[in-house]
Assembly symmetry: C2
Homo-oligomer: 558 residues x 2
Amino acid sequence: MMKIALAQHNYIIGDFSGNKSRIIESINLAIEQGADVVVFSELAVCGYPPADLLEFDSFIINCKEAIENIASHCIGIAAIVGAPSFNPKLKGKRLFNSAYVLKDGKIDSLYHKGLLPDYDVFDEYRYFEPATEFNIIELNGVKIALTVCEDLWNMNQSPMYSNSPMEQLSKQNPDIIINISASPFSYDHAIERKTTMCANALHYNIPLINVNQVGAHTELLFDGGSLVINSRGGVVAELSFFNEDFRVFDMDEVDNLPEYSFSKTQSKEEKCALIYNALIMGIKDYFRKLGFQKAILGLSGGLDSALVLALAVEALGNDNVWAVLMPGPYSSEHSVDDAICIANNLNVKYDIIPINDTYNILIKTLAPNFNGTSFGIAEENLQARARAIILMGLSNKFGNVLLNTSNKSEAAVGYGTLYGDMCGGLSVIGDVYKTEVYELAEFINGEKEIIPRNTILKPPSAELRPNQKDSDSLPEYDVLDQILRHYIEDRMSKDEIVSLGFDKDVVSKAVHLVNINEYKRYQTAPVLRISGKAFGIGRRMPIVARYSFYQKKLNCLY
Amino acid sequence: MMKIALAQHNYIIGDFSGNKSRIIESINLAIEQGADVVVFSELAVCGYPPADLLEFDSFIINCKEAIENIASHCIGIAAIVGAPSFNPKLKGKRLFNSAYVLKDGKIDSLYHKGLLPDYDVFDEYRYFEPATEFNIIELNGVKIALTVCEDLWNMNQSPMYSNSPMEQLSKQNPDIIINISASPFSYDHAIERKTTMCANALHYNIPLINVNQVGAHTELLFDGGSLVINSRGGVVAELSFFNEDFRVFDMDEVDNLPEYSFSKTQSKEEKCALIYNALIMGIKDYFRKLGFQKAILGLSGGLDSALVLALAVEALGNDNVWAVLMPGPYSSEHSVDDAICIANNLNVKYDIIPINDTYNILIKTLAPNFNGTSFGIAEENLQARARAIILMGLSNKFGNVLLNTSNKSEAAVGYGTLYGDMCGGLSVIGDVYKTEVYELAEFINGEKEIIPRNTILKPPSAELRPNQKDSDSLPEYDVLDQILRHYIEDRMSKDEIVSLGFDKDVVSKAVHLVNINEYKRYQTAPVLRISGKAFGIGRRMPIVARYSFYQKKLNCLY
């Protein structure tokens, strides 16, 4: 048959020269290793997702120029490269999401994606016209069913699409399926992807090559793990996860290679390892691709900031992370001790900058207006915002990017201060529920205690009023997180959740809190997405709305 | 023929009981006035756009229940009501965007939208399957081509869609076109809408009824202006703009009614009046629909906050708006005077709360770290954030929603402090360029000086360092705004803009500033949308990306 190279790269959106050199290097390497074809991922030339940059004609022209330049290097080899292309017809959307086939120094042919995902984080109908006709391509006598990502995701009982590119292609008797993709990570998606790809190979009874993108683009994480699958639907090779990779396979041998077995379930440890690696990559790429080296964060002595510190140190190096301890009037004694302990465990520079003077001046400044009112949310928020203003001052002065340390449970119920602890350039654990924060902490402490035991064991507290605990105003996290998952991930109604056995008042309260806090989440940092439904671009809820459960008037925004 | 009632309402998203009562009231009124059919807007039952609430089965079931209840009131009359419906087929998206025809106390038939907008603020492919077959409905012997909004927007030379519902419908010889819509306002869109509707009536040579939604849903504004058009393509009636309305027309008379003439161009005054009314409605509905009465804002003595104050007072009443003057170390003397002057002109309560003590404590608190560095962005931002913390303290304590006062030019180039003057629950003029801010100020001062002349005439300044002016770091606004419009609205590249005659360095700088400030805009309040391309949900640009013009490393986020 043929030798196929899989080139799994970490692109930068819009970095035509960088992406192009990476692609050309791999073409040369593939030639060296005797490959007949080298395959790159979906929209490789511009990186995925380019979002509204696709609306600039100049952006599409840049893509085309890069493709032509890459084609000129394809002598004695063919390359399959993803890029957007103009729709030549006057009808329909102006672009296609295409796979270019390059050979003999020029563009040989073009295949357009037929199934365009438009759900969760995907907006492909916003830009692309779906192809409706599909033809196999032939390279070195091998008939290839060339598909782009979603084109193969139409296998289950209630498919989202009315047509099936592979059904059309299969009638032309292809010898192999090649799928170029940009399939975003979530901790349960690698298994789904493998299952879907294997089902295709098995169903059509031919081998399958899948080349995925790797790396982070702001909130979206891509885990790589490109696949080679034999004609019996067995995985025979899997490229690196969370790293670039390049490998060549002789397709004649594929059916003789040993099969990997893989489990469709996941242990807690496996899930933690995936999330851990994904978050590390997310932090790393956010900084590297924006041209930053150094981070700063507020270290409270609590578990969330301890976890983010550990992740940041792993991603950026201990020299590049600065922890700031900002005890306030209601901070407990152990907070500073616990914070110093983890800073020392990770060998990280820290400063102690108490907020008491700032808080007191603010209280004095506002006294003419606050007089006669009692201590409440306003005073609590002043403390959180005093901390933010100090962190942002240091960030602005020294160029360290502030990492946000809110978890998904807090973000869901609005347990955080807008412009206070909700500040930051990147939300590291905003898609990690509090119960998962505990799991990750245990995972990190697996070999050696990095996060102090006391930080893990003490009851969570914002420490914004005397003896405050999260559980004063929120349900216990093990219950809350289950309810949140049903509401956010499963889109169940309040009644449906109650019917599972949860307490009606607790469910009502949790759901109500999620609804009335859409305005807060609207204004927060991008969240590294590790689940199937993260806050941010993949979840679009109205701010001004009555939810069925939304009866009482709000007393207070923020 | 028949008598048709047009019911143009201001719905609340998800407020099934409220929307339903409104619809039933209009049905009863239409019966009283002898109408044969009463027509409501697109997705009337749940309000448009419901966004991801559509992903909850319970939401769709609530819509269906409301429709059935409404149907029971349709005795002796037919009603056409927009609502989502489940797609009964196993293939394709799970919903349709439908027009229900209700009569004889029950659901008579259903028509599904064929052309689904998915650009700018629209995400309809995210939720809906497009209909591909279209059949006219017959009521009282009249053959109706029933269409939903975008279904009629397929008339120009390079249409976005490959099929045309009206072409199919026209083959069935309809007597009239009815179009139910939720067509968002921008200051040039009412003319486009009228032109498109007239072109349809003229092309098919039959009268046309268009019923639009009115009111604001967070950032999206709907201006109403529902239309009755005769079979020659002439407008014979237009319902209210920015208000609910209800009118009945005898379709036999429509071709005999006098035609409105309308101009396809717009005077500066007409544009200002539209923007002014749209912003007032936007503020009003944001507060009313969330259940708030009172606003607060920082009044600097500059033009932006003066304009927002005038708009807020018109929308909410002078008793409900609280202005806070927060002079700082670099505030000019005239700032406080100018601010007091407009507060007095509008008879608004104001407080003067200087930030100097807070700023000084922050400088002292940060001194151990800041020592040896020179005054810069960090110190400027401390001032802006000190103001924000005071405003948010008052907001939290007293329940006044903070109005953001940044204009579109500032938001575009990042000339503002994140978590400082970029705070607020709602950005009132975030889609109004600075040059348009001047136009609106003159418009408001039309009859009587409300905004002090000095506020209009003095050079714009953030007053965060001695003798600072906006023009120290930015091009003059009359040039900047033109460049920004070409880049943001027209999606032109840097080179294309330069080719229009703008200075290359100025264009490079402006475009560069827009690109590197995506992260700031990601974290700001929803912006009332008055143009064809506003920041927010309709403009989705990556944060981590290399733009072609993006070469130098950033030194500093925020």
